[in-house]
Amino acid sequence: MSTFDGMLTAVVFLPLVGAILLLALARTDRRVRLTALAVVVADFVLAALVFIRYDADGGSRFQLLDRFEWISTEVFTAQYQLGVDGISAPLVLLTGLLGLCAVLASWSIKMRVKEYFVWLLVLQTAVMGVFVSLDFLLFFLFWELELIPMYFLISIWGSGRKEYSAMKFLVFTFLGSAFMLVSILALFLADGGAQLDMIGWAESGADLARTVIPISVVFWFFFVAFAVKLPLLPVHTWLPDAHTDAPTAVSMMLAGVLLKMGGYGLLRITVGMFPDMTVDHALILTVLAVVTILYAAVVTLRQTDLKRLIAYSSVSHMGLVVLGIGAVGVMGGTYNKLGLTGAAMQLFTHGTITGLLFLCVGVLYERTHTRYIPDLGGLAQRMPFLAVAFVIGGLASLGLPGLSGFVSEILVFLGAFKAFPWLTALGAFGIVIAAGYILWMLQRALFGPARERFAHVGPSNLMERIPMALLVISIVVVGVFPSLLTDVFDAGLGPITAVLGG
């Protein structure tokens, strides 16, 4: 039974079409930029429409379906199947927003402009595809597709040890994917027919007894793939390198949406499809989460490179996602729901917050040509707009109420504390350390006396201010009116927590 709404296909493939158009038609750099901008603006509008059209209150679990048979043999069928539920709809919106901001943040790219924007658009298609694919084969293809543009974007337009970092990113993610591939193959090779339809999994559960390898192996192999992507300790070391050496817009996409693929995978597949096993292993997840939060937070304090600092803080904050998921370890639907919704919220809010922080660092670097914190200082007076955006991003990152980060944190803590009070209390100490590294960073980078060597530094320009303003607005709006998102996540997570039996 095929059905075709078309909107999700459009939101996924529009950037790819745009990339092809760029290759074929755009001649001057200026035209390349404008075309890319037009494409991401259109894709953002589509993404916003997807978010608006998703109906949290009624209708079926998965909406806006695009489905037809893609590969059909006598033993298995692979579907082209796209759809959104309450978990993915906000992430589609996030990807649209970050994609738009990333193109704006790339305005000053001078080298191999056309190629750069082509890869950036391909990246957006891949990430969108991951969030809306509801067939394992398709999901995996998008998951892998994302590696190619990322590799080139870092290794060509990056800085520092860019080839090393790009390769490290590739190898880590690729190894993670290999584990996932085994799991997917196991599902595919299940006795009595492949189980690649994610909707079927979600709605009726899969017959786990039929897989050819033990189901716990399938579970953990999926987990490894997502843990690398998120990342969790101890498979996180690719992230600081990749971020440090990537160009600004790529860091924004990497922290803003690519890491979220890991969190999304955890929610959609780990919790959504292996609920019983997740509950059984909630303690392990929580321990990993708390170790990640605290370890990464302490290491963040030590960083002297702005980008590396924010990269490590991302690792710490992604630990909160897993802490929220650990809330499934208690019998009680309310607490499960709070933790999982907090985890999902953290995906969205961290995406905008860290996107903003990387953008600010990029804007700052553009003018000062250094990210080495001890060399910075006194820039608040020279760049007031940037200072305001940077401070707001920083405050959101340390969980200040009124800004979006707080909402995710409080939900995660309320949920997880019931399941593992002592561990959650430990993890919550991360917010104190976060205040330390964020405020110390702001103090050293922005405040203090004006420095002579930055006398030439001028204020940010319009193309930099638009994305900063967009992200600041999204952070404030979600911070003040969180129900815009929590209602949607709540609806999306409902069927999952219902299965948990609380």
Binding site: L141, G333, T334, Q443
Partner: protein, 667 residues
């Protein structure tokens, strides 16, 4: 009876002032900065009127609890916000809005010509709004939100002069130290929510403040066994941790003296009506929880009393006028906390009330002195009483009130606390009484030492002499100049109004005998909400009052002898106490202990250093050192990627296809 909208307006008016100042004046009308001041003064002026109306309504009708609104719903749990307006809230609203209004008017004179003038009033609007929102919050999450926003306001205002490293450092320190306390507060909230089922059995909401107050007696009576025993004590201790951070109680007191780096009117606001008062308010707000736990009450009492004495001792030796006042604030907050700890709820809030007026006055006076001399260092002041008669007279009123001299406001509130401790008779109360009584002597001495060094004797050169002698680096300079003159009326008038409060705010609101139709002990009776068991007023113990007054006068006399008459202490004694003096001057080395030893050496150096080493040398090098990664695999991939990207994608896809085909053929 006041309407819900009118109460919300008290909060929303300064929020509106923030929006107007940040988004309109700052962006479009920067050439007319005084609009920012008029905006906030108008907003707060209206808020004062509404606050008085609220107070009148509460006097007449008792506590108002309005319906809550839903902020978000997850899994059937609603996080809500609403209004809880009891007598405590009503009093706090009047204090916060009126003191803040005075400070804003004064600021117009103090901040004149500052390039950040508009930004200053935007931050002030935020700070005032957050504090107002805090005292009227009906839900503990809402309270926590406002609590953190008060912290944000103080961060922004302490670090207002961002170009000064000391200001940026002090702002960070204030936020971090209070956040350590907030961590405890957060855990208390989590623990309450952890026991949601127990609350729901009783038809209560674990996040509603009124319900938490209502639950406390149920827990004591055993109806809510889940939270019995140590459970409730942990909640109280967590809440107190938050309160101790904000109210700068030992051992989280270290941020407040450094907070001097903000503009002086900010200090006045922080020390009188916002921020530090929030901690005392928080304990009072959850007082039924504390009452239900003897251990928690004892902890609050002892920490408060110890802080009162400990901080007063440091006030004795400070050279910076604002630091003397800062330690004085910490000490007076200790009085309030100690009072709460021994159950003297009414007396504690009474002291908060009187203290707000005389301490705001003293800080504004210090700002006025700074306006004339350009410095805060009392060693370079002196002789100002003839030049600034108004400032001198008003600060003298504030000082006498602080010391607690009859019949000024501070006398009544302080003696009520002492009377309570005296009457109690338990070991805790005895200890509290002793520490507070000794603090009375110290307070008298440091206050008059400050007054004499500032206003008496000969003028010693102001900021010019200071910068010459101390060699202050340019970036740390306050940029002040010496122009010896009384401050403009826009600064003196608010001080005068606060001075009226410092004189009359004691006896008039809490008279010992019926006066002008005000009932005996009106304030102390009124402010104690019905949910609180202890804390009603005691009649004045005139014997005790006489003794403390004599002690205070004696130590004023000592200060007079030393700083006016120039009498020297016997050199032998001076030599003997030298090490003590040095320790106190070094603030008992707490800054060194926290910042250098614990944070920089321990946490950052040892732990951070180890983890960073571990991360790079162990975790990361496992990857690199495996060799295959950096060389073999890298080489292989290098070959692949040397040409075209498509190879890679093709490789993956073909790999999958091969596996599929293999399965189809042989499977």
């Amino acid at each position: 009876m006041i309407s819900e909208g009118a109460v919300w307006a008290i909060f929303l008016l300064p929020v509106g002032a923030l929006a107007v100042n940040a988004l309109v004046v700052r962006l479009f009308l920067n050439d007319r900065p005084s609009l920012a001041m008029f905006t906030i003064v108008a907003a707060l002026g209206a808020a004062v009127v509404l606050s008085v109306w609220t107070l009148a309504s509460v006097i007449e009708n008792g506590t108002h609890i309005f319906d809550e609104y839903t902020w978000l719903t997850v899994g059937g749990v609603e996080l809500r916000f609403g209004l809880m307006v009891d007598s405590l809230t009503a009093i706090m609203l009047v204090v916060v809005t009126s003191v803040s209004l005075m400070v804003q008017v004064y600021s117009h004179g103090y901040m004149k010509g500052d390039p950040g003038y508009v930004r200053y009033f935007a931050f002030m609007s935020l700070f005032s709004a957050a504090m107002i929102g805090l005292v009227m919050a009906g839900n503990i999450i809402q309270l926590f939100v406002m609590w953190e926003l008060v912290g944000l306001g103080s961060y922004l205002l302490i670090g207002f002069w961002t170009h000064r490293p000391a200001a940026a450092a002090a702002a960070k320190k204030a936020f971090l130290v209070t956040r350590i306390g907030d961590f405890g507060f957060l855990l208390a909230i989590l623990y309450l929510f952890f026991n949601r089922a127990a609350f729901m059995e009783q038809g209560l909401d674990p996040l509603s403040i009124a319900d938490i107050q209502a639950a406390a007696p149920l827990i004591t009576s055993g109806a809510m066994a889940a939270l019995g025993g140590l459970g409730l004590t942990w909640v109280a201790v967590g809440i107190f941790a938050g309160a101790a951070g904000k109210s700068a109680q030992f051992p989280l007191h270290v941020w407040l003296p450094d907070a001097m780096e903000g503009p002086t009117p900010v200090s006045a606001l922080i020390h009188a009506a916002t921020m530090v008062a929030a901690g005392v308010f928080l304990v009072a707000r959850f007082f039924p929880v504390f009452e239900a736990s003897t251990e928690a009450m004892a902890a609050v009492a002892l920490v408060g009393a110890f802080t009162a004495l400990f901080a007063a001792s440091m006030g004795l030796v400070m050279k910076d006028i604002k630091r003397v006042l800062a330690y004085s604030t910490i000490s007076q907050l200790g009085y309030m906390m100690a009072a709460l700890g021994i159950g003297a709820y009414g007396a504690a809030i009474f002291h908060l009330f009187t203290h707000a007026f005389f301490k705001a006055l003293l800080f504004l006076g210090a700002g006025s002195v700074n306006h004339a001399t350009g410095t805060f260092d009392m060693r370079y002041m002196g002789g100002l009483r003839r030049i600034m008669p108004w400032t001198y007279a008003l600060m003298m009123i504030g000082s006498l009130s602080l010391v607690g001299i009859f019949p000024l406001a501070g006398f009544w509130s302080k003696d009520e606390i002492l009377g309570y401790a005296w009457k109690g008779g338990s070991v805790v109360e005895m200890a509290v009484f002793l520490m507070l009584a000794v603090s009375v002597a110290a307070t008298a001495f440091y206050t008059f030492r400050m007054m004499y060094m500032t206003f008496h004797g000969q003028f010693r050169g102001g900021v010019e002499a200071e910068e010459k002698e101390q060699g202050i680096p340019a970036e740390d300079s306050h940029g002040g100049k010496v122009h010896l003159a009384e401050s403009p009326w826009v600064m003196v008038a608010p001080m005068a109004i606060l001075g009226v409060g410092a004189v009359a705010g004691g006896y008039l609101v809490n008279p010992q005998s019926g006066l002008l139709g005000i009932p005996v002990h009106w304030f102390s009776e009124f402010v104690v909400p019905p949910v609180v068991e202890h804390g009603k007023a005691l009649p004045l113990n005139s014997m005790l009052a006489a003794v403390t007054t004599i002690v205070a006068l004696g130590f004023i006399g000592l200060a007079t002898a030393m700083y006016v008459k120039g009498k020297r202490v016997d050199p032998g004694v001076e030599k003997a106490v030298e090490p003590v003096r040095r320790t106190v001057e070094a603030k008992y080395y707490f800054d060194e202990l926290y910042e250098d030893k614990l944070v920089v050496k321990g946490f950052y150096g040892k732990l951070g250093g180890f983890l960073e080493w571990f991360d790079q040398q162990v975790v990361d090098s496992v990857v690199d050192a495996a060799g295959w990664f950096s060389r073999n695999l890298g080489w292989a991939f290098g070959r692949l990627q040397s040409g075209q990207a498509q190879f890679y994608g093709v490789g993956i896809t073909s790999g999958i296809v091969v596996i599929l085909v293999a399965y189809l053929v042989w499977g």
